[in-house]
Every structure is written in structure tokens, then in C-alpha cells.
Assembly symmetry: C2
Homo-oligomer: 299 residues x 2
């Protein structure tokens, strides 16, 4: 059996694994995200140690926090670009790992990787376009459109769509760039700043959740209007609050106001806004990126 | 030389032409959009008359006002669906024309057709993703993503993104579904309802244009955040107001607030938000849809 390496790189922790997409990883390590030199070195040592134990990888896939450079013609392909994260600006993630490990590297955003995984193997199998959202410390979105991941001038930054504030909400928004963009109004830090305590401490039925569902719905309605996705996967910490996804579906139907032919019925809204189907969509997507990189290299 | 038929169907008028994409049409007729029976009959008679004069068409392409059904597996593919336009709801546009003329039919929205034309032959040649916007009696948007037109559950309805009203604007919005969606705040009828006279009568320098540029910019920023397009073509009547596109670029840069790596400089904003490159993008796109339909049929 061919083995692959997968890295899901988040802002606070990194998962590195050996295995293949859709299978339980044969080895998995959680690495804290500190400075790039130390962090990338720990990732390299993980894969070298596994190779020495008889688990060599054929290719590596990386789903990385952004912004990243995904332009295959750029000299900075595979770099983290303008992140506010200390010392990661300009870090050559894909190049450093690929050179050290001597394998082809597939590289994309963490949310594009998760979108690919849910589209190929998860809750959105074959649903084109598929959007994957994660709502937590930020709001991130990735997408598969016409069979491929969505890239362009850069990559989607769905969390920074500009939004309408609900009439009863005076919170100015927490985004340092845009104030009241989607992330500024509905991410975990926005919820905590608005209500004075984190989402984990807000009980079901608290008005925070009705408002949160309304903002998540507004952003999702805009995604429907732009991308016409067949499936929107709602992932991440905040979105796992019990019952929230049903509130989001209802609010989205209400905001959409019967304009679209599909989704229209409650059943169609439930098929459109879905829970993740995979336990580890980001890591699964990184394995898929690795497999694709190996196939491309082999051609 | 192979000849094709093209139909650009708008809400008030229809253009029908014989020729091929990127060439001056050999025959062109403007047909008023009345009821579907009469209108489709006039289109059929136009193409039959041209065929009898030695200009037979190999295939037909139709770029149609929406909403339309684009699902190839649907029994209503090629139909106009839930339009408020009198009597067009449920009209079988593609089927009626294809059966009467005995040729393969390519069918899409008018704005998707225009996006395809600008992407293959116009101002956005090879720029993937490309978005084409038309701002006039409504706001419509189409897109090419990963080399193909953007479809899904239905097709883009970019004009119905939900928007933030500018602090100094009390106009409630003119969309019968959403009030203050993009179209409700920035279409031609919205401008006329807000200022009491149509855009044609508002002089350069009138505050209407600064506000209009701000709303167009807000929607375009959201498109950048979702689709990461390399080119956004600003078409349609309102967008042709002298100087407006530069105001839109400035307002978009300001709203984006330096968040994106690209576009960032004024030159990059000018390359991202572009004027149409084609005189008749919708009709050119319809010719391309016809050529693609002929190629598909020939396979």
C-alpha cells in the first residue's frame, strides 16, 4: 500500500500524519504552532522518524492557514504571505518540507483541503460546487467548483465578505481590517467580545445564538447568490453548538425570501447546509492533495 | 465557413444573429420581448428566413434572462423558471427553438454567456476566474471558474447578495424580495427611486455617483472574497457613466482596506476591475455556446 504524508497547519496547532485519504492514519502527531523554523523542523523530524520505522511517504499534502501563495507560476508558491501571525510572514512552508523530505508536495489552504475532502469522500460527495466553512477563531471558506479547488488571484477569503449588521446589534465588529465583515461579526472572538464571555459559556437559548445563526445565514445566502453551491458544509467549533445548524437553515430561508428556486423547501435547505461528514476533513484533504501531487509528478 | 445562430434574450428586447463568435454578424435582428409564443416564433422565423437565403446555422446558442433551469438532468432544462415577467414563467425557450430549427442548442444565462465571451475573446482573455457584471435594470453576474461557466444548484444570482447600507443613505432598497440587496441598492431603478430621476439625468459630480460607486465596490469586494477572480468586467448601462469605474476601483480598494495581497496597488485594481472588451459580449457568448453545443453533439 502506498503511503502519503498529510499536514493540517492551523494557527495554534499542526497535525501531521502518515497514511492515505479515507483511512485511519497509521501515525499521527500534534505539533504546536510556534515559530516557522522550529515548527517545520518538528514536522520534518516526524516524517523522517516514521520513514525509519518503515512508513516512508510517496508525497506530502499540506492544508495551511492563510493567506498563502497558490500561484504555480510564482516564485513564492507555497509560502505564507501577509499573515499577522508572528514570524510566519514569508515562510516557505511547501518548499522547506518538500526539499527536506525529497517528495512532491501538494499545497493549499486548510479550508480548500477540507472542501476537497468533503466533496470527494464526505458529506458533499459529488456535489459541485461544494463550499466548506469553518467558524471558530475566524471564518474561513474553501470551495470545489467545476471539479477543482477554487483559486484565482489568490484564494477565497470568504470570512471577509462585508455584511449588514442586524438592527438590534450594536457590536461594531472585531475585524482589524473591516470591522463588521462576516468574521468581524460572527467568529468566536466576535461572539466573546459582543457578549462578554466565550461561546462555550453561553447556554442554549441565549439570544447570542439567534443572532449568530442570523449572521451565519446572511453569509451563506451570499455564497448561494455568488456560487450557487449544491452543498455548504458548516464546520468548525462554533457551528457545532447543538441546534445551531437548524437555526441557520431557518434564518437563511427567511433571508432568501423565496427568491431562489432551489433551495426552497425545508428539506432542500437541510440538503444544502450540511454538517461535515468526515471526522478530520482538513487532514483527509491534505492526504488527497498528496495523492494528487504524486499523480501529477508521475505523469 | 460554418455558421451559427446566437440569441441574446433580455427582458425588453432580443437580439438574434447569424455568424460566428468574434466576427461581425452576417445578419442581425432586434426583436421586442413580448409574450413567449410570439417572441419565440419571431426568432424561429428569423433563422428560417436566413437559412432560405443561404445562411443555415449548424447550432444555436442562447444567452437568456433568468432565472432559468440549467440542470442537464432536469426535464425543464432550458426553461425560464420563476421570473416575475408576465407569461414567461415556465417558457421552454431552448426546447422550442431547438425543435423548430432542428439544430443543437447551447443555453445559459445572458451574463454567463457574456462572461464566457470576455474570458475567451475579450478583456479577460485567459483570466480564471472571470466575473462579468451588468448593472442596469437589475444587477446580474456570470462567471467562468476553472475553465467552465459557473453552475450549480441553479446559476449565480449575484445581484441578490445582501448588503450593508452606507450610513448616509436612508433609501430602503427597491428589491421586492430583499429590499436592500445589491440590486435593490444599486440598480438603475434603485438610483431613480432614491434620487427621483433616472441616472441619465444625474450630472457627473452628483452625490449619486459617489454612493453608486461605493455600492458597486462593496459587491465587487465580496466577489473578490468569495471567488478570488483575476478579472471582474463591469458592463451594462449604469457602469458606462464616465469616470464611474475609477470611483469604483478607489472605493473597492478603500473597503478592502489592504487585506488582500492582490489586488493592492492602483494598477492591480485597474487590472482587476475592467471595462468590457467586446462590443456585444452577450451575443458573442451566445455564438460560443452554439459552437460548444455543435462540438458536443459531434462527439
Amino acid at each position: 500500500m502506498e503511503l502519503y504524508g498529510a499536514v493540517e497547519a492551523g494557527g495554534t496547532k499542526i497535525l501531521a500524519a502518515v497514511g492515505s485519504a479515507g483511512e485511519e492514519p497509521l501515525a499521527l502527531e500534534r505539533i504546536p504552532t510556534t515559530d516557522p523554523g522550529e515548527t517545520l523542523d518538528r514536522i520534518i523530524r516526524f516524517f523522517r522518524a516514521r520513514a525509519s520505522e518503515g512508513l516512508p511517504i510517496r508525497a506530502l499534502g499540506v492544508g495551511c492557514f492563510g493567506p498563502v501563495d497558490l500561484d504555480p507560476d510564482s516564485s513564492r508558491w507555497g509560502f505564507v504571505t501577509s499573515t499577522p501571525k508572528p514570524r510566519w510572514q514569508g515562510a516557505d512552508v511547501a518548499g522547506t518540507l518538500g526539499r527536506a523530505l525529497g517528495v512532491p508536495v501538494g499545497f493549499d489552504t486548510d479550508v480548500n483541503a477540507a472542501a476537497l475532502a468533503e466533496y470527494r469522500l464526505g458529506a458533499a460527495e459529488g456535489q459541485d460546487p461544494t463550499v466548506y466553512l469553518t467558524v471558530g477563531t475566524g471564518i474561513g471558506g474553501g470551495a470545489v467548483v467545476n471539479g477543482k479547488l477554487l483559486h484565482g488571484a489568490a484564494h477565497p477569503e470568504m470570512g471577509h465578505m462585508l455584511m449588514s449588521r442586524r438592527g438590534d446589534d450594536a457590536f461594531p465588529g472585531s475585524c482589524p481590517f473591516h470591522g463588521s465583515c462576516w468574521e468581524g461579526l460572527a467568529s468566536g472572538p466576535a461572539v466573546e467580545a459582543r457578549w462578554g464571555r466565550p461561546g462555550e459559556d453561553l447556554p442554549p437559548g441565549h439570544p447570542a445564538w439567534d443572532l449568530e445563526a442570523w449572521y451565519l445565514a446572511q453569509g451563506i445566502v451570499n455564497l448561494l447568490m455568488v456560487l450557487s453551491p449544491r452543498a455548504v458544509i458548516l464546520g468548525g467549533g462554533i457551528s457545532q453548538v447543538p441546534g445551531l445548524i437548524n437555526q441557520v437553515r431557518s434564518a437563511a430561508a427567511s433571508l432568501c425570501a423565496g427568491y431562489l428556486d432551489r433551495p426552497r423547501t425545508p428539506a432542500e435547505w437541510a440538503r444544502t447546509i450540511r454538517e461535515p461528514g468526515l471526522k478530520i476533513p482538513g487532514l483527509t484533504g491534505a492526504f488527497l492533495l498528496a495523492e494528487d501531487a504524486a499523480d501529477t509528478k508521475a505523469q
